[in-house]
Symmetry: C2
Subunit: 205 residues, 2 copies
C-alpha cells in the first residue's frame, strides 16, 4: 500500500454484450447465501465447513472470503437477510386488519413463510436462544423486530394480556407446529396445520 498501486474501485470484468446489467457479484453472493442456509439448517454452523458451502454454491472458497470476509460474517448476513424478509412479509400481511383477524393473518403468513423457507425456519429455531455465540447481538436485534409485529397486534387485540410473552407463545405455537408438519408429517395438507394452530391460539370463533 506504500508503492503506487491503483487503489481505485477495480474495473469491472468484461461485460458480455447483451447481458443486461448482471453484476457477477450478486449471483455469487446469492448462491453462497442459499447454500449456506440449506447446509447450516441441516447440520449446524460449526459442523458445516466453508468448503462444503463453496462446493454446494458452485464457487471457490476464496470467493466466499472475498464477499463476506469470514464464516461468521456470512452467517450473520444469512440471518439478518432472512429475518428482514420474514418481518416484511408479516408486516404486509396485517395491513388494514386488526383484532382476531390480524392474529389469524399473522399465523397464516408465518406458516406460509415456514413452508416457503423451511431451512431458514429450522435455522432460526436452532440458533435464537443460544447465548454463547458471536452473532448473538445480530440475531437479537432482528428477532425483536419480528417479534414486535406480533406483540403490536396482541396489544391491540387483547389489552389485558402480556404483549411480549403472548407474542412468544403464539409465535412458538405456529413455528413448532409448522416444523412438526414439515419434518415429521409432510404429507398433511397445509390447511390442517393452520386449523390446528388457529384452534389453539384463538378463542372460540
Amino acid at each position: 500500500m506504500t508503492t503506487h498501486e491503483t487503489p481505485d474501485p477495480a474495473p469491472a470484468p468484461p461485460p458480455v454484450p447483451g447481458a443486461p446489467e448482471s453484476p457477477p457479484r450478486r449471483a455469487t453472493r446469492g448462491s453462497i447465501v442459499d447454500a449456506a442456509v440449506a447446509l447450516i439448517a441441516d447440520r449446524g454452523f460449526s459442523a458445516t465447513s466453508v468448503d462444503d458451502i463453496a462446493a454446494a454454491a458452485g464457487v471457490a472458497k476464496g470467493s466466499i472470503y472475498y464477499n463476506f470476509g469470514s464464516k461468521t460474517a456470512l452467517f450473520e448476513a444469512v440471518i439478518v437477510e432472512g429475518v428482514e424478509r420474514l418481518t416484511a412479509a408479516l408486516r404486509a400481511s396485517v395491513v388494514g386488519l386488526d383484532g382476531p383477524a390480524a392474529i389469524e393473518a399473522l399465523v397464516t403468513e408465518l406458516l406460509v413463510q415456514v413452508q416457503a423457507h423451511p431451512d431458514f425456519a429450522k435455522l432460526v429455531v436452532a440458533e435464537v436462544f443460544r447465548t454463547g455465540r458471536d452473532w448473538q447481538h445480530s440475531i437479537r436485534q432482528v428477532r425483536e423486530e419480528s417479534m414486535a409485529v406480533f406483540a403490536d397486534v396482541v396489544r391491540a387485540t387483547w389489552p389485558d394480556r402480556d404483549p411480549s410473552l403472548t407474542a412468544a407463545a403464539i409465535f412458538g405455537a405456529t413455528l413448532v407446529a409448522g416444523l412438526e408438519w414439515l419434518a415429521f408429517q409432510p404429507q398433511r395438507p397445509a390447511a390442517d396445520v393452520r386449523a390446528a394452530v388457529l384452534a389453539t391460539v384463538l378463542p372460540r370463533g
Copy 2:
C-alpha cells in the same frame, strides 16, 4: 464426519452401556453429562470440544472416551437421559386429571422443567428438527414419547382437534414462551409466563 471412523458398535471398547456400574464411575459419568449439557446448549455440539467438556467436568479427556466411547455417543446419552426425565415428569403431572385441568398441568410442568433445566431445553429446541445428524434416530424416538403425553391429553380433551398438531402447537407455545422468558426477560416472575401461555392455549374459562 470426524477423523477416524470407529467401525460401528464394536465389542472392542470396555464401556458397555447397561453394564453394572461401579460407584466411582457414576460420579464421573454424572459430572461429564452435566458439563456436556451446559456447554453444548450454549455453543452447539460441534463448537464444543471434548477438551472443553473434560475441563468443565474436572476429569481427563481419556475418561470421557472410557465412559462413553465417542463424542457422539456422549451426546446421545445426554439427550436420551434428559428427555426420559422430562417425559416422566410430564406423565406424573397429569395422573388423575383430564380435560382442561390436565392441559393446564402439562403446561405448568413443562414450564417448571424448562426453568429447572434451561440448558437442556435450549439444547432440545436446537436439535429436534435437524435431519442431517448422527443421533437423529435417538432424538426422534424419545421426542415421540414426550409428544405422546401431550397428544393423549389433547385427544381426550378436544376430540374434534388433530392430536399431534395441536400437541405440537401447545408444546411449542409453552417452550418458546419459556425460553423467551429465560433468555430475554429473566426478571419476570414465573407466574406471568404461565398466565400468558394458559391464556393463549386454553379457551376462556
